[in-house]
Symmetry: C2
Subunit: 134 residues, 2 copies
Amino acid sequence: MLRLTTQRQVILEELSKVTSHPTANELYDLVRKRLPRIGLGTVYRNLELMADNGMILKIEVGGTQKRFDATTENHYHIRCAECGKVDDLDIPVLNNLVAQAAATTSYQIIGHHVEFTGTCPACQQRLAREQAAQ
Amino acid sequence: MLRLTTQRQVILEELSKVTSHPTANELYDLVRKRLPRIGLGTVYRNLELMADNGMILKIEVGGTQKRFDATTENHYHIRCAECGKVDDLDIPVLNNLVAQAAATTSYQIIGHHVEFTGTCPACQQRLAREQAAQ
DNA sequence: TTCGAACAGGATAATAATTCTCAATATAGT
DNA sequence: ACTATATTGAGAATTATTATCCTGTTCGAA
């Protein structure tokens, strides 16, 4: 069974503190402020373990890195195509979609996720500035 | 501008032939049967270029690899949590969802994608067999 | 308590997927 | 044909993640 070690506790606390959806590496930076000797492998290992135990959510969106979320209820995300930032979207979860999908596939459905792509406010501004500069 | 080299033509043809959603590496194997001297880098480079030009679709789903699709219209996918296989789902695209999302975010929305996770028929059988064997 | 087994951590090596670099080649337009 | 540009193949480099290995910790049973 899963022990609540100091490392796990701090990882969980730091993840809960932020509203962003940090990557393992971003979380590593946060946690290291409190546990300077922690290893990156430990962060990866424990994020994976906690996700498997339903304590946190592993968000497998597009982009190159996995992201994590202390909120475990299903909700949707929007990802910035420029900088990779991920934010929550405040729209209701489409539970009827699962039934609809189940009717048309021979897969046994586990869950679903909706991911929007877009340009975040910061990148919109940056792009506008770059346009103007030319 | 974009030349239609032999390599690009063959990559596009092979991608169009299959109904699966091959990874760059799977496509590399297919293409190599016709162009044995092609490099993996060329496959990656051209898939990226063709996706940028809207000739094909780059599917950034969960899992560790990007996948590609000769169909460019938006449609939804289901991915096997066991083996990573990706199939199309025959359910209508929710265009109203974009408007809904636009109303609740300051991102400028580009697009959206719905991804279901599940267990594909083959893995269901395999898992059932493994269960029985114990 | 103390002994042993299982658990967990940190450091580092290994792997996987993708991207980059660069010299050589091919192509289009003049 | 000539030149500028685009493209290729080979391999190195990078990035993100996972595995390994050894050491220290903790939990229970004796």
